[in-house]
Amino acid sequence: MNRPVRDHEILSAVFAKMDVPAMSVAAGALCALMLFLATAILLLQTVPEGYPVGPHLSTLAHYLPGYEVSWYGALIGMFYGFLIGAIGGFAIAVYWNLTHYVALGVMLISSAELAD
Protein backbone atom coordinates (compact mmCIF):
# COMPACT_ATOMS: atom_id res chain seq x y z
CA MET A 1 0.00 0.00 0.00
CA ASN A 2 2.74 2.51 0.95
CA ARG A 3 4.80 2.24 -2.21
CA PRO A 4 7.72 4.62 -2.76
CA VAL A 5 6.57 7.97 -4.13
CA ARG A 6 8.87 9.39 -6.75
CA ASP A 7 9.76 13.07 -7.04
CA HIS A 8 7.92 13.53 -10.34
CA GLU A 9 4.73 12.24 -8.70
CA ILE A 10 5.04 14.88 -5.99
CA LEU A 11 5.53 17.52 -8.68
CA SER A 12 2.55 16.12 -10.56
CA ALA A 13 0.48 16.50 -7.43
CA VAL A 14 1.62 20.10 -6.96
CA PHE A 15 0.88 21.21 -10.50
CA ALA A 16 -2.12 18.95 -11.12
CA LYS A 17 -4.92 20.99 -12.56
CA MET A 18 -8.40 21.00 -11.11
CA ASP A 19 -11.09 19.72 -13.46
CA VAL A 20 -13.32 22.76 -13.86
CA PRO A 21 -16.58 21.07 -14.98
CA ALA A 22 -16.18 18.39 -12.32
CA MET A 23 -15.65 20.91 -9.52
CA SER A 24 -18.54 23.04 -10.76
CA VAL A 25 -20.96 20.12 -10.76
CA ALA A 26 -19.68 18.70 -7.45
CA ALA A 27 -19.88 22.05 -5.66
CA GLY A 28 -23.25 22.75 -7.20
CA ALA A 29 -24.62 19.41 -6.08
CA LEU A 30 -23.32 19.92 -2.56
CA CYS A 31 -24.78 23.44 -2.26
CA ALA A 32 -28.11 22.27 -3.66
CA LEU A 33 -28.26 19.53 -1.06
CA MET A 34 -27.25 21.92 1.74
CA LEU A 35 -29.91 24.48 0.92
CA PHE A 36 -32.56 21.78 0.58
CA LEU A 37 -31.62 20.24 3.92
CA ALA A 38 -31.44 23.65 5.62
CA THR A 39 -35.02 24.29 4.56
CA ALA A 40 -36.25 20.76 5.21
CA ILE A 41 -34.84 20.63 8.75
CA LEU A 42 -36.78 23.75 9.70
CA LEU A 43 -39.97 22.37 8.14
CA LEU A 44 -39.65 19.10 10.04
CA GLN A 45 -39.28 20.81 13.42
CA THR A 46 -42.43 21.06 15.51
CA VAL A 47 -43.45 24.63 16.23
CA PRO A 48 -46.47 26.11 18.04
CA GLU A 49 -49.54 26.90 15.95
CA GLY A 50 -49.19 30.22 14.17
CA TYR A 51 -45.46 30.47 14.92
CA PRO A 52 -43.48 31.58 11.85
CA VAL A 53 -41.21 28.92 10.41
CA GLY A 54 -37.75 30.03 9.36
CA PRO A 55 -38.25 33.83 9.52
CA HIS A 56 -34.51 34.36 9.13
CA LEU A 57 -33.88 31.79 6.40
CA SER A 58 -36.81 33.22 4.47
CA THR A 59 -34.87 36.46 4.01
CA LEU A 60 -32.90 34.56 1.38
CA ALA A 61 -35.84 35.40 -0.84
CA HIS A 62 -34.34 38.89 -1.16
CA TYR A 63 -31.49 37.33 -3.13
CA LEU A 64 -33.22 34.20 -4.46
CA PRO A 65 -36.54 35.21 -6.01
CA GLY A 66 -39.22 32.60 -5.48
CA TYR A 67 -37.53 31.00 -2.49
CA GLU A 68 -39.57 30.41 0.64
CA VAL A 69 -39.42 28.16 3.66
CA SER A 70 -41.76 25.49 2.33
CA TRP A 71 -41.34 22.18 0.52
CA TYR A 72 -41.87 23.92 -2.80
CA GLY A 73 -39.39 26.59 -1.75
CA ALA A 74 -36.91 23.88 -0.80
CA LEU A 75 -36.94 22.67 -4.40
CA ILE A 76 -36.51 26.22 -5.66
CA GLY A 77 -33.67 26.57 -3.18
CA MET A 78 -32.06 23.41 -4.57
CA PHE A 79 -32.01 24.98 -8.00
CA TYR A 80 -30.49 28.20 -6.72
CA GLY A 81 -28.09 26.27 -4.51
CA PHE A 82 -26.83 24.33 -7.49
CA LEU A 83 -26.40 27.53 -9.47
CA ILE A 84 -24.50 29.29 -6.69
CA GLY A 85 -22.37 26.25 -5.92
CA ALA A 86 -21.57 25.71 -9.57
CA ILE A 87 -20.48 29.31 -10.00
CA GLY A 88 -18.41 29.08 -6.83
CA GLY A 89 -16.84 25.77 -7.86
CA PHE A 90 -16.12 27.14 -11.33
CA ALA A 91 -14.47 30.22 -9.87
CA ILE A 92 -12.35 28.23 -7.42
CA ALA A 93 -11.20 25.76 -10.07
CA VAL A 94 -10.41 28.39 -12.68
CA TYR A 95 -8.67 30.63 -10.18
CA TRP A 96 -6.71 27.66 -8.71
CA ASN A 97 -5.47 26.71 -12.17
CA LEU A 98 -4.73 30.32 -13.07
CA THR A 99 -2.65 31.01 -9.96
CA HIS A 100 -0.66 27.83 -10.59
CA TYR A 101 0.00 28.82 -14.20
CA VAL A 102 1.08 32.30 -13.11
CA ALA A 103 3.32 30.90 -10.37
CA LEU A 104 4.77 28.44 -12.83
CA GLY A 105 5.46 31.22 -15.31
CA VAL A 106 7.23 33.26 -12.66
CA MET A 107 9.33 30.25 -11.65
CA LEU A 108 10.29 29.48 -15.25
CA ILE A 109 11.24 33.10 -15.93
CA SER A 110 13.25 33.26 -12.72
CA SER A 111 15.10 30.05 -13.49
CA ALA A 112 15.79 31.25 -17.06
CA GLU A 113 17.26 34.49 -15.68
CA LEU A 114 19.38 32.55 -13.19
CA ALA A 115 20.63 30.30 -16.00
CA ASP A 116 21.76 33.39 -17.90
Binding site: V5, S12, A26, H100
Partner: protein, 213 residues
Protein backbone atom coordinates in the same frame (compact mmCIF):
# COMPACT_ATOMS: atom_id res chain seq x y z
CA UNK B 1 21.51 12.27 -1.44
CA UNK B 2 18.78 10.33 0.30
CA UNK B 3 19.96 11.55 3.71
CA UNK B 4 19.99 15.21 2.65
CA UNK B 5 16.52 14.90 1.10
CA UNK B 6 15.22 13.18 4.24
CA UNK B 7 13.78 10.23 2.37
CA UNK B 8 11.39 8.18 4.44
CA UNK B 9 9.95 5.04 2.91
CA UNK B 10 11.09 6.29 -0.49
CA UNK B 11 9.43 9.71 -0.17
CA UNK B 12 11.43 12.92 -0.55
CA UNK B 13 10.00 14.69 2.51
CA UNK B 14 11.72 18.00 1.79
CA UNK B 15 10.11 18.17 -1.65
CA UNK B 16 6.78 16.96 -0.29
CA UNK B 17 6.70 19.60 2.46
CA UNK B 18 7.71 22.33 -0.01
CA UNK B 19 4.95 21.19 -2.36
CA UNK B 20 2.35 21.32 0.44
CA UNK B 21 3.51 24.80 1.49
CA UNK B 22 3.34 26.02 -2.11
CA UNK B 23 -0.19 24.75 -2.66
CA UNK B 24 -1.32 26.04 0.75
CA UNK B 25 -0.13 29.49 -0.30
CA UNK B 26 -1.90 29.20 -3.67
CA UNK B 27 -5.16 28.07 -2.08
CA UNK B 28 -4.96 30.77 0.57
CA UNK B 29 -4.49 33.44 -2.07
CA UNK B 30 -7.24 32.00 -4.25
CA UNK B 31 -9.82 31.65 -1.50
CA UNK B 32 -8.91 34.95 0.12
CA UNK B 33 -9.34 36.88 -3.10
CA UNK B 34 -12.64 35.23 -3.92
CA UNK B 35 -13.97 35.86 -0.41
CA UNK B 36 -12.93 39.50 -0.63
CA UNK B 37 -14.80 39.87 -3.92
CA UNK B 38 -17.92 38.20 -2.46
CA UNK B 39 -18.03 40.40 0.64
CA UNK B 40 -17.33 43.57 -1.33
CA UNK B 41 -20.01 42.71 -3.89
CA UNK B 42 -22.55 41.67 -1.24
CA UNK B 43 -22.03 44.96 0.59
CA UNK B 44 -22.43 47.05 -2.55
CA UNK B 45 -25.52 45.12 -3.62
CA UNK B 46 -27.02 45.61 -0.17
CA UNK B 47 -26.39 49.35 -0.33
CA UNK B 48 -27.79 49.59 -3.85
CA UNK B 49 -30.91 47.61 -2.99
CA UNK B 50 -31.83 48.93 0.46
CA UNK B 51 -29.87 52.16 0.84
CA UNK B 52 -30.19 53.47 4.41
CA UNK B 53 -32.07 50.33 5.50
CA UNK B 54 -29.27 48.00 4.51
CA UNK B 55 -27.09 46.08 6.94
CA UNK B 56 -29.61 44.23 9.12
CA UNK B 57 -27.75 40.98 8.67
CA UNK B 58 -24.60 41.97 6.80
CA UNK B 59 -23.85 44.56 9.49
CA UNK B 60 -23.43 41.71 12.00
CA UNK B 61 -20.11 40.98 10.31
CA UNK B 62 -18.72 43.99 12.15
CA UNK B 63 -18.53 41.77 15.24
CA UNK B 64 -15.74 39.83 13.57
CA UNK B 65 -14.56 42.42 11.01
CA UNK B 66 -13.33 45.44 13.02
CA UNK B 67 -14.10 48.63 11.14
CA UNK B 68 -16.59 47.03 8.78
CA UNK B 69 -19.86 48.75 7.99
CA UNK B 70 -22.40 48.48 5.22
CA UNK B 71 -21.06 51.53 3.40
CA UNK B 72 -18.90 52.04 0.36
CA UNK B 73 -15.80 52.48 2.49
CA UNK B 74 -16.78 49.65 4.77
CA UNK B 75 -16.98 47.34 1.78
CA UNK B 76 -13.21 47.67 1.35
CA UNK B 77 -12.63 46.93 5.03
CA UNK B 78 -14.87 43.89 4.72
CA UNK B 79 -12.97 42.74 1.65
CA UNK B 80 -9.70 43.05 3.57
CA UNK B 81 -10.91 41.00 6.53
CA UNK B 82 -12.56 38.43 4.27
CA UNK B 83 -9.25 38.01 2.46
CA UNK B 84 -7.43 37.52 5.76
CA UNK B 85 -9.93 35.09 7.27
CA UNK B 86 -10.65 33.04 4.14
CA UNK B 87 -7.02 33.01 3.08
CA UNK B 88 -5.81 31.86 6.49
CA UNK B 89 -8.59 29.29 6.79
CA UNK B 90 -7.86 27.83 3.37
CA UNK B 91 -4.09 27.80 3.74
CA UNK B 92 -4.29 26.09 7.13
CA UNK B 93 -6.87 23.65 5.76
CA UNK B 94 -4.56 22.68 2.94
CA UNK B 95 -1.58 22.30 5.30
CA UNK B 96 -3.71 19.99 7.42
CA UNK B 97 -4.93 18.19 4.29
CA UNK B 98 -1.37 17.61 3.19
CA UNK B 99 -0.37 16.43 6.64
CA UNK B 100 -3.25 13.96 6.86
CA UNK B 101 -2.69 12.79 3.29
CA UNK B 102 1.03 12.43 3.96
CA UNK B 103 2.92 10.06 1.76
CA UNK B 104 -0.28 8.83 0.09
CA UNK B 105 -0.04 11.88 -2.17
CA UNK B 106 0.28 9.63 -5.23
CA UNK B 107 -3.31 8.54 -4.59
CA UNK B 108 -4.57 11.99 -5.53
CA UNK B 109 -3.20 11.78 -9.04
CA UNK B 110 -5.49 10.66 -11.81
CA UNK B 111 -3.16 8.03 -13.16
CA UNK B 112 -0.12 6.26 -11.85
CA UNK B 113 1.42 6.54 -15.30
CA UNK B 114 3.82 9.49 -15.15
CA UNK B 115 3.20 12.41 -17.48
CA UNK B 116 5.98 13.46 -19.79
CA UNK B 117 6.22 16.76 -18.01
CA UNK B 118 4.23 17.22 -14.78
CA UNK B 119 4.88 20.96 -14.93
CA UNK B 120 3.98 21.82 -18.52
CA UNK B 121 1.53 18.94 -19.09
CA UNK B 122 -0.18 18.60 -15.72
CA UNK B 123 -2.20 15.66 -14.55
CA UNK B 124 -5.77 16.13 -13.41
CA UNK B 125 -6.25 16.54 -9.69
CA UNK B 126 -8.33 14.12 -7.67
CA UNK B 127 -9.52 14.72 -4.15
CA UNK B 128 -8.97 12.46 -1.14
CA UNK B 129 -12.27 12.62 0.69
CA UNK B 130 -11.17 11.46 4.13
CA UNK B 131 -8.16 13.78 4.29
CA UNK B 132 -10.23 16.67 2.94
CA UNK B 133 -13.02 16.03 5.42
CA UNK B 134 -10.63 15.76 8.34
CA UNK B 135 -8.82 18.97 7.38
CA UNK B 136 -11.77 21.22 6.58
CA UNK B 137 -13.88 19.67 9.32
CA UNK B 138 -11.21 20.49 11.90
CA UNK B 139 -10.91 24.07 10.64
CA UNK B 140 -14.69 24.54 10.60
CA UNK B 141 -14.95 23.18 14.14
CA UNK B 142 -12.22 25.53 15.34
CA UNK B 143 -13.90 28.47 13.58
CA UNK B 144 -17.24 27.78 15.23
CA UNK B 145 -15.64 27.32 18.65
CA UNK B 146 -13.56 30.49 18.48
CA UNK B 147 -16.28 32.65 16.97
CA UNK B 148 -18.75 31.53 19.65
CA UNK B 149 -16.15 32.00 22.37
CA UNK B 150 -15.52 35.52 21.08
CA UNK B 151 -19.21 36.31 21.55
CA UNK B 152 -19.00 34.97 25.10
CA UNK B 153 -15.79 36.84 25.89
CA UNK B 154 -17.11 40.18 24.64
CA UNK B 155 -20.15 39.73 26.87
CA UNK B 156 -22.83 39.63 24.16
CA UNK B 157 -23.72 35.95 24.36
CA UNK B 158 -27.25 36.62 25.59
CA UNK B 159 -27.86 39.13 22.76
CA UNK B 160 -26.51 36.85 20.02
CA UNK B 161 -29.90 35.68 18.80
CA UNK B 162 -28.59 35.08 15.28
CA UNK B 163 -25.72 32.87 16.40
CA UNK B 164 -28.20 30.96 18.57
CA UNK B 165 -30.05 30.01 15.36
CA UNK B 166 -27.32 27.45 14.76
CA UNK B 167 -29.09 25.31 17.34
CA UNK B 168 -31.72 24.59 14.66
CA UNK B 169 -29.08 22.61 12.78
CA UNK B 170 -26.64 21.72 15.57
CA UNK B 171 -28.69 20.22 18.44
CA UNK B 172 -27.25 21.24 21.78
CA UNK B 173 -25.39 24.26 20.40
CA UNK B 174 -25.72 27.45 22.40
CA UNK B 175 -23.77 30.68 22.64
CA UNK B 176 -21.66 29.42 25.52
CA UNK B 177 -18.35 27.60 25.88
CA UNK B 178 -19.96 24.20 26.41
CA UNK B 179 -22.40 24.84 23.59
CA UNK B 180 -19.50 25.84 21.36
CA UNK B 181 -17.66 22.60 22.14
CA UNK B 182 -20.70 20.51 21.34
CA UNK B 183 -21.37 22.52 18.19
CA UNK B 184 -17.76 22.12 17.11
CA UNK B 185 -18.00 18.34 17.31
CA UNK B 186 -21.24 18.34 15.34
CA UNK B 187 -19.99 20.75 12.69
CA UNK B 188 -16.89 18.57 12.24
CA UNK B 189 -19.13 15.60 11.52
CA UNK B 190 -21.33 17.54 9.09
CA UNK B 191 -18.41 19.07 7.21
CA UNK B 192 -16.60 15.70 7.13
CA UNK B 193 -19.60 14.08 5.45
CA UNK B 194 -20.02 17.05 3.08
CA UNK B 195 -16.38 16.85 2.00
CA UNK B 196 -16.72 13.13 1.38
CA UNK B 197 -19.70 13.83 -0.87
CA UNK B 198 -17.86 16.59 -2.69
CA UNK B 199 -14.78 14.44 -3.28
CA UNK B 200 -16.86 11.43 -4.39
CA UNK B 201 -18.86 13.41 -6.95
CA UNK B 202 -15.78 15.28 -8.19
CA UNK B 203 -13.65 12.12 -8.54
CA UNK B 204 -16.47 10.27 -10.27
CA UNK B 205 -16.91 13.02 -12.85
CA UNK B 206 -13.14 13.25 -13.38
CA UNK B 207 -12.97 9.51 -13.98
CA UNK B 208 -15.85 9.70 -16.45
CA UNK B 209 -14.28 12.60 -18.34
CA UNK B 210 -10.74 11.23 -18.42
CA UNK B 211 -11.26 7.50 -18.52
CA UNK B 212 -9.19 7.13 -21.66
CA UNK B 213 -6.01 8.46 -19.94
Amino acid sequence: MQATNHNVNGVNLKLLNAAIRFNALMLGFTAGTLAAVVIYSATQVSIAKWGDNSGNYLGLLAIFFPGYSVTSGGAWVGAFWAFIYAGTFSALSYRLYGRVLGTRIADILLSTVPTENPVLKPSVLRLHGISLGAAIGTMAALCLFFSTSWLVVRGTAHESIHAALFSNYLPGYSVSITGALLGAVEVFAVVFIACQLLASVYNKIVEMRHKKT
